[in-house]
Each structure stands twice: as C-alpha cells, then as structure tokens.
Amino acid sequence: MANVPADLRYTKEHEWAKLEGDKARVGITAFAQEQLGDVVFVELPKVGAKVTAMKTFGVVESVKAVSDLFAPLSGEVVEINVELPKKPEVVNADPYGKGWMIVIKLASAKEWDGLMPAGDYEKLIAAAGH
C-alpha cells in the first residue's frame, strides 16, 4: 500500500495538497510516482500564473510516459519548486517532501472541502489494484 499521509487532501488524478494558511502546497502522490516510474522531467507554470481546479497546470514525464498535472485548487501560483528541473528524481524519492511542485494562493477556501481526505484516496488507489 502506497503512503497516504493523513494531513493532506487528494485528487482523483493523484495530486496531493497541503493547506498552509491561505495557500496550498501541491505535488503528486506516492502512488502516482510509483505508477509513472523514473521521473525525468517536470514542466511547471511560472510564478504568477493562474490555475483552475482540475485543469492542467503542468506536465510530468517519466522515462516511459508523459502525464498531465492537475491543479487540486484554483488560484495563483506564488511559488514553484525550482529544484525540480535539475533534480526531477526527487519526485520519486520524496513525493510529499522535496518533490513538491507548486504553491497556490487559494482563490476560494471552499474548494478545499471538495478534495478527497486520505481515507477516500486510499480506497481509490486500492480499487486501482493496490
């Protein structure tokens, strides 16, 4: 069973979000990086870009596949992980820590409640065969 921290919220597209005041830190889950395999490239938006919940905000590429990244929440990108272009493999090594991708300043705090709690996400990935 992949690691699913209880204090985070999740999307069905396998992104996680961590609430930090009026902002949220975002990345992909341990399950997602396992499915992707070795991550070799991450394409992130620029600071200042507007993102919309469940619309793509970037791309993650593994050796075998290219996958869209979906924003869990709407708002403005106020920070990006500038280490990722140099070390995309940290997405595999530490998906909830050093492998974070962007920080979004939330447009609406209500959207947070629409995200999946850890228990629901665990059920989702269990149904996906894990």
């Binding site: 070795d38 070799v40 791309v59 590429e61 050796v63 290219v66």
Partner: protein
C-alpha cells in the same frame, strides 16, 4: 475499453515476474513486465553488469526441407544463401511496394532448416505473410513452445559460461551453438538488442522457469537483475536500433530507415525488390536519424520535427537516455536535414524545443565481435 479486448497472452514466466514485483503492462497483446525496480536502474545494470530479460513473447517460425532456402530468399531482403549452419542474420520482410512488414533474425539451424525470430506484436501478421500461397517451404509456427531469455551485459558471457555444457566464449557475434545451459537444452545465440555483449537463449517453454532461476541464482555475484521492457527500449534506443511498429512499419522503407545494408538485390528476386531498387535509383526524400535534445524535454513518438517552424519530419522514438543523462530520440526528417549537426526543433505540446541530429549509435556498442 480494455474489457472488450481479447485476454493478454502470457509468457511461461508471467507469474515469476509478478512474484518478483514487476509492474506488468500490455505490450503487443502480451502481459509483460515493463519494469521491476526502475527503468534507469535496470538500464544501468545491463550497461555495467548483466541483466536478464524474458522475451518469450517474440515469435519463432521454422521452415525446413529442400525448398526452405528458396522460400526464405523470396520473402526476406537479405541474402540467406551466405549463411553457414550456426550463423544468424538480421533481415527484413517487405511488402511489394517496399514498406516493411517486420524485421527479424534468421537462423540457419541445419542444411535445409531455418528459424525466423519475429516481433511479438507481428506474429499473426508475419505468419500469414510467410505462409501465403506459393511461397514454398514447409513452415511451422513454434512460438508457443519456444521460450526466449536474453542475458545481456559485460558479465553475460562469464555467467552463461558457468552454466553451459560447452565453450560459449568461442561463439562469434551473430552465431549460435546448440547445447545445454543449467541442464536445459538451449540454442545459445550471441545476439541481442541492447548494444552489450550477451546471449539470447532459446529453450523449451516448459523448462524456461528452471533456466530463469538458474541464471538469477548464478548471476547473484555479478549483480544480475531482471530487466523489463522499459529498459529494453532505452537500451535499444541508445544504439539507434529500430523498433518495429515505432521506427519501421508498412509506411517506411528499408532505405530511408538506414537498413539498406540488409537489402541484397544481387541475390535475385524477392518481395519488394523492384520497388526498393526504384527508390534506390531515385534517392530517398527522408531519412531516419538520431537526435539529441538541447534540454530535458522528451520528444515522443508522433511529435513533429520542425525547421524554422515548418514541419520537416516526425519523431518515431524518444526517451531520456540513462547512459547520457540527456533526452534522445529517433525520427524521420527531410533528407537535406539528416546530416549530423543539423539543427531542428521538436514540437512538444505546442512549444518548439531545440534538438540536433546526432551521431549514432548514441553510445558505443560493446557487442563482442569475434
């Protein structure tokens, strides 16, 4: 979408892979391991030590009898008459118009007895093609009962030798010996598709599991790992070896694919000869090249190659190269843009990313040419 498809075929080692923690994926109608620990790690294991691949999904056809050579000469582009017993040849099946049906390796097993090894996803198509009326020869499809393992890497020879009942160190490149490995009867072929030295071991499907475990056990001290299709793909891409269905298919011909060297018109008539000769005289308008990306951006199959914004070709394979730690690929480009050093762009999700035609193979071959 997947629930209406026919069930995936399984190699004799399907459960062994699952037990080893492999991630299984559908490939050419087969349930195959794409990776065990990770593509990059597995790739490096093959380049630096030795890796074990289950490639039993590949197809094998045998043809024997007095008409065998004539049948092979009719359907393949290379000259099979030059093959000695014990020798292997890379060759192609082509359509009358010159497009490629498949690539294959041809084994001369005995005087009038040959084996063709074809790609897994093409077994049915190739079988229909080789046995089509009037081609002659007595054909048998032995794919189901034939297991196939590849042992590849700098430590492959010593490993296979420890388990073999004969001297395999004297088997030259693109030759084979018949013998036993770990007591399992094998055709021991010094071939592979990774650019490393090594062997491909054809063995009865029923005994493949014994052979697999014997190699894994004996190879422990060499750091052997099972290798999935993911690393097989990056390994062959670094050598610019064509992948049937990606880099070569019915819409591409041997000359533009850089496979003119396996087309031997002097041998006489064969399917596709006339069309390929006409193309050779006219010159090809596009060529299959290798390219290296200027930055970390993966050009994948089907992406467009551009010159000053105009489409000039298409990517057929692309990946991150674990050996070079850069992104590389292959694709067809207009012939005037094919020379090494030509600067191009790849359209990746609407953005032009710089690339350059590269010298290939991308990494040197370590196949043992004795």
């Amino acid at each position: 979408m997947t629930d209406t498809q026919v069930p995936l075929k399984r190699t004799p080692l399907r459960d062994v892979h699952a037990a080893a923690g492999a991630k299984m994926v559908p490939f050419g109608g087969w349930d195959m391991p794409v990776q065990y620990t990770g593509i990059i790690e597995e790739h490096r294991c093959v380049r630096s030590a030795v890796g074990l691949f289950d490639i039993s999904h590949m197809g094998e056809f045998e043809v024997r009898g007095p008409g065998a050579l004539a049948a092979i000469q009719t359907i393949t582009t290379n000259d099979a008459s030059t093959l000695a017993v014990g020798q292997v040849q890379y060759s192609l099946l082509c359509y009358p118009e010159g497009g490629i049906v498949d690539d294959l390796t041809l084994y001369r097993l005995a005087e009038d007895h040959y084996m063709l090894t074809v790609n897994a996803s093409n077994i049915d198509k190739d079988w229909a093609w080789v046995t089509e009326g009037g081609r002659g020869g007595g054909w048998t499809n032995v794919s189901a009962e034939t297991g196939l393992l590849a042992v590849q890497g700098p430590k492959a020879e010593a490993l296979v030798q420890r388990l073999a009942d004969r001297d395999v160190t004297r088997v030259p490149y693109y030759h084979f010996a018949q013998g036993a490995v770990a007591g399992v009867p094998c055709l021991i072929s010094r071939t592979g598709y990774t650019g490393e030295d090594g062997f491909e071991l054809y063995a009865p499907a029923a005994q493949l599991e014994t052979l697999w475990h014997a190699l894994m056990d004996a190879g422990k001290r060499d750091g052997i790992q099972p290798i999935g299709l993911g690393a097989r793909d990056t390994l062959r891409l670094e050598m610019k070896f064509a992948l049937s269905g990606n880099d070569i298919d019915e819409t591409t011909n041997p000359l533009e694919a850089g496979l003119g060297w396996v087309v031997k018109p002097a041998k006489g008539e064969f399917v596709g000869r006339k069309a390929i000769e006409t193309m050779r005289a006219a010159g090809v308008t596009r060529k299959l090249v290798g390219f290296e990306m200027a930055e970390r951006a993966v050009a994948r199959h089907g992406y467009r190659l551009l010159k000053a914004g105009d489409p000039v070709g298409v990517v057929t394979s692309g990946s991150f190269s674990p050996s070079l730690e850069r992104c590389i690929g292959m694709g067809y480009v207009r012939a005037d843009l094919a020379p090494v050093g030509a600067e191009l762009d790849v359209d990746i999700r609407g953005q032009a990313h710089r690339t350059r035609v590269a010298k290939t193979p991308f990494v040197p071959s370590h196949a043992k040419k004795i």
